[in-house]
Symmetry: C2
Subunit: 383 residues, 2 copies
């Protein structure tokens, strides 16, 4: 059965003076309005969230949101896949409609993080990784640093190529009023910012963020009755890689990206050459290269060239992270994958405003942990 | 598409000297063996768990389990619906197969709780409830006490009827080697145990428990190729009730039970009169009455009579909680709904040993919070 997206919303990302409950409600209400769907019509409600209990001591937020949105007796559930919880929510929403369990599914992803110190938040995020690794002090940023060093040396890539990803995504973020940062940065600023995990510096990392985003899913048949502007989820796949990162054959190959994009392409009957725009999980600048290679847009060890020659800029052959990416938009764990879906949906229905590019086919890749689990979603504009 | 269950497993429930990682792996490995399925054949892995981060400081357990079981690159995800996370996992596993996303889905539910003090565990569980309620000290046991008092007075039910539920489920648990308690109790012991939330006493409550359970799902077509003994998920539904318990019109009507069972009956083309056996969520003895009424087996205010006349005993008209229920089996939050599924599956395929009853149609009702969200599953024996 064809599954369509008929509405989207996103709160301002950044340091928000609101708890997870309020962030989820805001995005949920705005998505109901955007889709023109009455609360009573919602049959399933999924909440993508990794750690409301750890961050706020509040659990059961999916049942609480169902109550606050007035969608009762809709079925409500929390979906967790760490930093790819949003992509997992898209997969569950798709399955709920494709299986016939629901004709109208609301997905809301969110996380509230900035009230914790960076150290506290990093500890919560580090618990994603394998106990044999993080209990020895290995965190996601340190994996990123080691992988970046290996990539640059092995493929003779210039350090500048990573900075270009940061500069590009900050430039894109200027046109996104919902982004945490709407400020351009220079190559100099990126290259001279403080070292966090050598060779990665401050501007190679996404920030700690509060925020929420939402999408409304229904059947293609029902979408046609409701609106002329909708997108179809034509391909979607999810895959898990080794939880112990150091057990991977090649640290520059993200197996979860390769497998999940393969599934998504096969389901959609498309290939990387068909993409017009994509949102990639640039939690760290190096990940944009690894995903461009994992989804088949670039050969292994060559994605850095696309950054250097501007092919992934908004006016390039394949614009990447027109939203500003996690880098400038921010990364509220459970919201990020949903926000990627919001961006490609808005690009496909022509609602991206100053970020708009010409796109009929779009891809979003949401990465959990350090590629521990990945969801790739392909959406196409309705005929 | 017909969705079948072809294998099941359950660890010993109780105080376990093992972390969530080990509990999940044990049930997962035993389920792969029971189903005769190779790890490579698993396409989706769902982990039902409410709070591994809160209880152990370990997140990402679904990706960790996929790694430990060797099912990579299977998609892995954690499903949380508080105390009905297990039922939610059954719903997701069903959707994954019914939507065509997966031909072979492994569901593992588990929770590790006993290393925390009862107070610490109660605090984590209390965070399920509405902040306007639990921050004023209202916990699930206090809701149960108030509801029980109201029920007994309003319907002129004897206090003994609640004790009979405890005695019955403890009797059933004696025949379940996986149960936390395999000890019969007398009416006197139940009625003279310490008061916890008047009128409810110690034996009206389920314990704090560690444990894990698993089920293997596939298409009916594939099930026929693999085995002669399988069960079909013929009906399933989920529904949310008000998160603020005191906003409900009638505290003795569990709206989530009524709505989810209605959905499940409609999907299966069956009614309460067709049930041969059922597992109900007896976190508190009073809930067995409210669910018997919610699923339509008894009229409002009359379920207590079934306890008094033995109709719900193993040799009664409709055996309830042949597994021993949460009361004697124990209640590891994420595992309980899956373990309910394990019991009805084993009853339907004739693998319940000393607990075996004659059953072709079975129901399981898994309750989150104080009826905040409920999943009802109906399984039928394969022709």
């Amino acid at each position: 059965m064809g599954v369509a997206v008929i509405g989207a919303s996103m709160t301002k990302f950044g340091q928000r003076d609101a708890w997870i409950r309020e962030l989820l409600s805001q995005a949920g209400e705005e998505c109901l309005t955007d889709a023109g769907v009455a609360p009573d019509d919602v049959e399933h409600l999924y909440v993508s969230n990794m750690a409301s209990g750890e961050f706020e001591g509040q659990t059961g937020i999916m049942n609480l949101l169902a109550h606050d949105l007035g969608v009762l007796p809709a079925y409500s559930e929390r979906v967790d896949q760490t930093s790819s919880s949003g992509g997992a929510g898209i997969y569950e929403a798709w399955q709920s409609v494709a299986s016939g369990a629901s004709d109208m599914t609301l997905l809301v992803g969110g996380e509230k993080m900035t009230h914790k110190t960076t150290g506290q938040a990093t500890d919560i995020i580090a618990s994603i990784t394998h106990p044999d690794e993080y209990k020895h002090g290995v965190t996601l940023p340190s994996f990123a640093g080691m992988t970046a060093r290996h990539y640059l040396e092995r493929f003779d890539a210039p350090r500048e190529s990573l900075a270009r990803v940061a500069v590009k995504n900050h430039r894109n973020g200027v046109d996104n009023p919902k982004a945490q940062f709407q400020t351009e940065i220079t190559m100099e600023k990126a290259l001279e910012s403080p070292i966090i995990a050598d060779p990665l510096r401050l501007y190679d990392f996404c920030p700690i963020t509060d925020g929420s985003a939402a999408l409304m899913f229904t059947t293609e048949e029902r979408a046609k009755e409701i609106t002329d502007e909708y997108a179809l989820v034509s391909g979607i796949g999810g895959a898990t890689d080794t939880h112990v990162v150091h057990e991977r054959d090649d640290p520059t190959v993200m197996g979860g990206v390769v497998e999940s994009s393969k599934e998504a392409y096969e389901m959609a009957g498309l290939g990387p050459e068909d993409l017009d725009v994509a949102e990639l999980h640039d939690m760290f600048t190096i990940l944009e290269f690894l995903q461009l290679e994992g989804i088949g847009v670039a050969e292994q060890g060559t994605a850095w060239e696309l950054a250097m020659d501007g092919a992934t800029a908004k006016d390039g052959d394949l614009p990447i992270n027109t939203s500003g990416g996690l880098k400038s938009k921010g990364h509220p764990l459970g919201a990020s994958g949903v926000a990627q879906g919001v961006e490609i949906y808005e690009q496909l229905v022509g609602e991206a405003g100053p970020r708009q590019v010409d796109a009929d086919t779009a891809l979003a890749c949401n990465v959990g942990g350090f590629g521990n689990c990945v969801i790739t979603t392909i959406m196409e504009a309705a005929e």
